[in-house]
């Protein structure tokens, strides 16, 4: 390092290279970079872990394993395995890419109007979609009416993922061990929560209403313009997150608690489920559904699509916000 010339030391290339290597981190001043740990440190790290275990109430019963022979053997074995790993990964990557490229070369040319994918299925969606679903945006009409079962499954994926995250990250105050951890988590969180940051608050003051209105617009106009329940819900959720960051949990808890979350998702998903079941049932039994399609292009049109979009939007907004709070402090 010392023999390097000054101009090289300050050159952009070196800075860039260091940044790529993770040595210096211009973006996070004062934060220690998290890097991929080289294998040599592994044993050391494991000893650290063993020492740390002593503090952990839950793990205290487990005796610190002396670094016996087997451990070293294992570490060495892993090191050899890792070299093999790297070579194998390159070979595998190239192999998969080559096989798929070979396939792609035999596929129909992109953008051709006569490709097999552009068949009578797509034609009917375009030609009759407006009359049959009432949605101006053909994609929305397709996913919420023609292929609605998929979309219902998709909301269930989101629902069950949020349940899994709840299982993993929610800290319940009741249990003894957990309560301590909750306190730790909360005190930790206050480190990071900006207290009355005036710049952030003023910006949020301007931005949050705009984001919210934009999100609501996307949801309500899902059948008329690009967007729909999912994208609008994500925008709404990020608006909520911004508000939370600017004003803190206390203010947020007046508006949004776990009860609100549960009830909203329950109502939205129940409505979704019942509405779609009704439409599936009538459709399969060749009954009239009796839901008016309305004039295409008006905001109150296209039958069930608008309420379904609202439901999806609510679920997604709540879920995104809940993901955020759970990741941050394990509760709402």
């Amino acid at each position: 390092m010392s023999r390097r010339k000054d101009n090289y030391e300050t050159s952009r290339w070196l800075k860039f290279k260091r940044w790529m290597d993770g040595e210096t981190d211009p973006l996070s001043v004062g934060m220690d970079p998290i890097e991929v740990i080289p294998e040599e440190k592994m044993r050391e790290r494991r000893k650290d872990f063993a020492r740390r275990k002593a503090y952990d109430e839950e793990l205290s019963r487990i005796r610190v394993s002396s670094a016996g022979k087997t451990e070293i053997m294992k570490a060495r074995g892993i090191r050899y395995f890792q070299k093999f790993y790297k070579i194998m990964s390159v070979i595998l990557c190239l192999g998969i890419i080559l096989v798929l490229l070979w396939t792609v070369a035999a596929l129909p040319v992109t953008g051709g109007a006569g490709n097999p994918a552009n068949n009578e299925v797509a034609a009917r969606y375009i030609e009759k979609g407006l009359q049959e679903t009432g949605a101006v945006n053909i994609v929305t009409g397709m996913i919420l009416d023609y292929r609605a079962f998929d979309t219902f499954g998709e909301s269930c994926v989101l629902f069950i993922a949020s349940c899994c995250v709840l299982v993993l990250l929610r800290l319940d105050a009741d249990s003894k061990n957990e309560s301590i951890r909750k306190m730790i988590a909360e005190s930790d969180d206050r480190h990071f929560e900006p207290k009355d940051d005036i710049i952030l608050q003023k910006c949020a003051c301007v931005l949050v209403p705009v984001i919210m209105i934009f999100g609501i617009y996307i949801i309500l106009n899902g059948h008329l313009s690009p967007g729909g329940g999912f994208s609008g819900g994500a925008v709404l959720g990020s608006g909520l997150i911004l508000y939370l960051n600017a004003y803190g949990y206390e203010k947020m808890s007046r508006l949004f608690t776990e009860k609100v979350y549960r009830r909203t998702t329950l109502c939205a998903l129940t409505f979704y489920c019942l509405a779609k079941s009704y439409s599936f049932f009538t459709g399969a039994n060749h009954l009239e559904s009796g839901i008016p399609v309305g004039t295409p292009g008006a905001i109150l049109s296209s039958g069930l699509i608008l309420p379904l979009n609202i439901c999806v939007g609510l679920v997604v907004a709540c879920t995104m916000y809940v993901f955020y709070t759970l990741f941050r402090k394990g509760g709402m």
Partner: protein
């Protein structure tokens, strides 16, 4: 259209709806709702099965107002009905058998979340069984994966969480391959529903166009679902996953989840890609080779294990090898044998996991199989259950495993090239099975030695639910073993109208 034809749709929706409602209930209510839901859906599936047996045909059910190539569809027939009923029964017994351990392993406030996973798991399994649309299948495969991950990690122990992340990674690899296979298939056929897709696949094959993409599609979809169901070279996640989850989760995961994927794979092979194309393109042979390797290697790994539950998990690897071998035989009899083995294996493996729990309870919850010495006397019913399961896996007459081995052997006689290797591997694998299962059974009934760890003084804690579940599972095994004729006939008839 008769009202009974709505039943498959009702069963899927009821399962999903009870999952959604459970999110606001407390643990006990969620449990009761879940049990009631499983019973109702099983009854509905039985209704569907009886209806289909009466007509002898399958029917499609529009999900919405739009017919086949435009809207979603589900399809029900004899095979689907049998599978759905069977999955329902196994799920019910697995949940009943593990009730007490579930309550112990899961935090009380999170109990309802566990039953949400069970509900959505069942709904996704039913949807995989009934679906007639490839993209619906993808979405429900994802629900199944996430619910499976939830069931593993709900125990919140270090080992089960690391098992969960491993499972997630492998499953995501599988899903990624499956999805790219679907995209390729959509690109060359332009359809996502199975029946129109099959028509255009047949046309493409007849015209000889898009040869390479068709081959890659078969390979990618096959490998993707094989990874998810844990075929031999991709099995690394299985032992951890099955060995460290809560008992209900182990039984459900080993008995149902992987079988759901295999059923989907069979469905795609039959109803989209065409089984004869699969055979002519040598893909069947590849699956066959993987299958027979798995049969031997899974058993060899199992012999080296000392932990009973991991041993049982490795035996699952071997049994999945059997199923893929049956698919790879390339004859319809081989397929019947494979499907029958799906049933055999899910009933037997669930029985083994559930009764292993009963044995652990009386041996101080040690992992080592040596500590189980004499456990068969301390908890007689669990001992009998484990013995029956082991004998069935080995292929003892009167039990279900014997019938499926018989079916495999007779179907192997039809294909001249594969006859010899199949019979040899069947014999080897049976011997290996016998080695480690009988070793366990003998341990169960041998006298304790002075050096053994002391047994906890507490009386056998086996709850009546556990006993009931073990008894029912033994019953299911005996039914599959003794009254196999009607089931095999139903499978054969179902396969005939499947394509």
């Amino acid at each position: 259209m008769s009202f009974v034809q709505n039943f498959p749709f009702f069963s899927i929706i009821i399962a999903m709806f009870s999952g959604i409602v459970s999110s606001v209930l407390d643990g006990k209510k969620a449990r009761n709702l879940s049990l009631g839901m499983i019973a109702v859906t099983t009854a509905l599936s039985a209704g569907t099965l009886i209806f289909c047996l009466g007509t002898g045909e399958s029917y499609t059910f529009m999900m919405g107002h739009f017919p086949a190539p435009w809207g979603n569809e589900i399809r029900a027939g004899i095979l689907e009905g049998v599978t759905a009923v069977f999955f329902g029964v196994v799920m019910f017994l697995a949940v009943i058998g593990g009730l007490k351990h579930t309550a112990e392993d899961v935090e009380e406030k999170k109990l309802n979340l566990f039953y949400i996973m069970i509900d959505l798991m069942l709904s996704s399994l039913l949807a995989l069984v009934y679906t007639n649309d490839l993209f619906t299948a993808y979405v429900f495969v994802e629900i199944n994966t996430i619910a499976g991950c939830g069931l593993i990690m709900i125990r919140q122990k270090g080992r089960s969480m690391s098992a969960a992340i491993r499972y997630m990674i492998m499953s995501q690899l599988g899903s990624g391959l499956f999805l790219i296979g679907l995209s390729l298939l959509y690109d060359v056929t332009g359809h996502l529903l199975m029946s129109p897709a099959k028509e255009s696949v047949n046309m493409l094959v007849a015209a000889g166009s898009y040869r390479i993409p068709m081959l890659v599609i078969m390979a990618v979809i096959g490998v993707g679902l094989a990874i998810k169901s844990g075929l031999y070279p991709f099995h690394y996640w299985i032992p951890d996953t099955y060995g460290y989850a809560t008992p209900t989760a182990s039984a459900v995961l080993s008995g149902l989840v992987s079988k759901g994927y295999i059923f989907l794979l069979i469905k795609i092979f039959y109803r989209v890609l065409g089984y004869e194309n699969l055979v002519s393109s040598q893909m069947a042979n590849v699956l066959y080779v993987f299958g027979i390797t798995g049969m031997v290697m899974g058993s060899v790994h199992a012999i080296y294990e000392t932990d009973t539950r991991r041993m049982t998990a490795y035996s699952s690897v071997a049994q999945i090898g059997y199923i893929f071998m049956g698919i790879g035989l390339g004859t319809s009899h081989g397929m019947v044998a494979a499907i029958f083995h799906i049933f055999t294996h899910s009933a037997t493996k669930a029985l083994l996991f559930i009764s292993a729990v009963g044995l652990y309870e009386v041996s101080g919850d040690k992992k080592d199989y040596i500590s189980l010495r004499g456990a068969g006397y301390r908890n007689p019913l669990a001992g009998i259950g484990f013995t029956v399961g082991s004998l069935s896996m080995v292929g003892f007459p009167m039990l279900s495993g014997f019938i499926s081995k018989l079916l495999f052997a007779t179907s192997a006689l039809e294909s001249p090239h594969k006859m010899l290797p199949t019979l040899i591997v069947l014999a080897v694998s049976t011997t290996l099975n016998a080695v480690y299962f009988l070793r366990l059974v003998i341990t169960l009934y041998s006298r304790r030695r002075p050096g053994d760890a002391p047994v906890p003084e507490t009386a056998p804690r086996g709850s009546w639910q556990l006993k009931l579940a073990i008894l029912c599972f033994i019953g299911v095994n005996l039914v599959l073993g003794l009254a196999s004729q009607p089931i095999v006939r139903a499978i054969t008839d179902g396969l005939a109208v499947f394509g």
